[in-house]
Symmetry: C2
Subunit: 406 residues, 2 copies
Amino acid sequence: MRIESVEFFYAAMPSITLEADGSQDALLVRVVADGVVGWGECEASPLVSLAAFVTPRSHGVCQPVSASVLGERLDSPADIARISALVARNSMDLLQAPHTYSGIEMALWDLLGHAREEPVWRLLGYDASYPKVAYASLLFGDTPDETLSRARSATERGFRAVKFGWGPFGEGTPEADADQLQAAREGVGRDTTLLVDAGQIWGEDVESAALRIPALEDARVTWLEEPFPAHAYAEHAALAARTRTLRIAGGEGAHNLHMARNLVDYGHIGFLQIDTGRIGGIGPAKAAADYAAGKGVTFVNHTFTSHLALSASLQPFAGLADHRISEYPAAPKALALDITRDHLLPDADGRIAAPEGPGLGVSVDLDRLGGYVRDVEILLDGDQLYRSPQVGGVAASSALHGIGRA
Amino acid sequence: MRIESVEFFYAAMPSITLEADGSQDALLVRVVADGVVGWGECEASPLVSLAAFVTPRSHGVCQPVSASVLGERLDSPADIARISALVARNSMDLLQAPHTYSGIEMALWDLLGHAREEPVWRLLGYDASYPKVAYASLLFGDTPDETLSRARSATERGFRAVKFGWGPFGEGTPEADADQLQAAREGVGRDTTLLVDAGQIWGEDVESAALRIPALEDARVTWLEEPFPAHAYAEHAALAARTRTLRIAGGEGAHNLHMARNLVDYGHIGFLQIDTGRIGGIGPAKAAADYAAGKGVTFVNHTFTSHLALSASLQPFAGLADHRISEYPAAPKALALDITRDHLLPDADGRIAAPEGPGLGVSVDLDRLGGYVRDVEILLDGDQLYRSPQVGGVAASSALHGIGRA
């Protein structure tokens, strides 16, 4: 097969709040090769990411992502790895490139899976897709009472694991955080796994983070996620050295395999959380899962958006039976659910698994998506460099085919 | 002062080749606060970087760069650090943000320098701007003869240090590379400092890189630059452990201070090369210089573009007398020279220094720039989200003022 076209669909809620809620917009990618269609999703600023696909080249290693994708052969997983290496080389100085390419890479796997009528996890070499406990990923309430109520509601919905993050956590006093943690534990009950996401709130301040360790361990929190920025390895390791039962988690900021490995090797994390929509797709996420497994670190998906992204993020560790927990966007905006016709619903034991269907095993609902799609047009010296494809009709006159290959 | 406007000027050569020559286009930034003007330059894909300034927000920590800059107070270096922290927080999930913001941050320093009638290096706390040996930064020739001739020509122009990079180096046999290195040494003569840039050509392959060590040491090469990708710390350290006289250099890929520190601490580099147009500007570059100095690592600027970028990249280590070498774009495209009226010319000893004039000490030549400027227009749902400012006339109707603050 040969890659004929790559199209981006930028969808957004009518109003975007300042919450740390990544389900408010989406950048979907549709790739076609020899008439076979694959879909992916970038976890990234949509306008910036599509600009990275069509931008004029700056020099040999600052080329648009399109230059390494359009027209390439796609017959095997090895072709995907080859295209990924091309992007890494030719777009070396284009910082946004990994976020753009992540959605494309997912779509290449989906496409290949459809062509071979195999689920992606089988193409990755796994024999089975093992169920994982879905943890409900929620934002802290503004008050402990609100957190308590969200925790109860998640448990009532059947979740066996719940994560709270962002909101006021880490911004006030350690005592205020302790109140939030007690409320969360009370709300989920004794037997539910409880996780906390600090959202990099402490910068490089290990002492401020360490002040929260007693309350986190009292509430039997399994992991504290992203206490510091993604590259602050020494700080992660310093905090990890000061815990007894708590583990440090991180990895969503990894935009290449090296960053994932570095968090394990230098940051001493206990849980590696990878977003296939950021790290460059399913291939590097699988390599990160293998690396984590070899180092005794638990691999976890990072997903806060659609069920397309959820399926893509489950594939890399679908066959790792011992890596048993998975992030589940439990309260996304309507857009995130409307993206796909199919949804990965937790079973009676609160578990989800990468689908058995071909490719990513979910189908995109372009009709429902139509109501959310935004129309982007980029003109360079008056000429159309990019125009969004039309949804529900004939594709708009688009310079997409062949862009970047002149 | 209050930041009134941030404008981007995207300039490019009429034809962009596939050479690894970063001087073929430029993204200049003009910031105005209370009528005082400052200029900066992003070392980045121009279209993608300006898109990161105006993109609609995705959520609370994936906001456009504009949201953290426009309308902010600017009265002191502390304000610049405060704005930098805002960008890091509010644009956490926007990968391109550091490249966009680097040019803005430079412009904030330039503006503050003009307001106080002080050179930026003085605002950074330095008492003097020490001259540095300018190394001519050149691409390897396609053949050893071509490299020999470029080396001779650089020495004849008075350069006391010469760096060759990219081209065929590392792509063929170790013997072919040895021929290139011998030609380079022969061309520059016995007493000239010789440096080599591998441009990440070996991926993660330490053995392939190590095969070149004997020829590099025979040619008395001071440093081997970027043998591997910017995040491959273990590989950098493994290679460094196998050299006798050669040192490993790296850092241009650092898009935050952590990455610079990590290359020192985990990569065991001997020279830290920072591009202020990528790392987030002059503030983090100065912090990286201080960190390097404290660890016995030599700080060097990375600059392959204009003399505005060159001045900005010299400021962070202007006052470090013992850090004596600096990159000098010795064969840039015409655009790179036409950007400024003033140029930093090597003295009789082949040395350059950060200028004594206020701010960055160079002025942008908007008239000459006019011939290179590209006109970008971005429409979102038919509404103008961005339009390039006009050069040499009244600014075009632009949504820039207030963008991202709605």
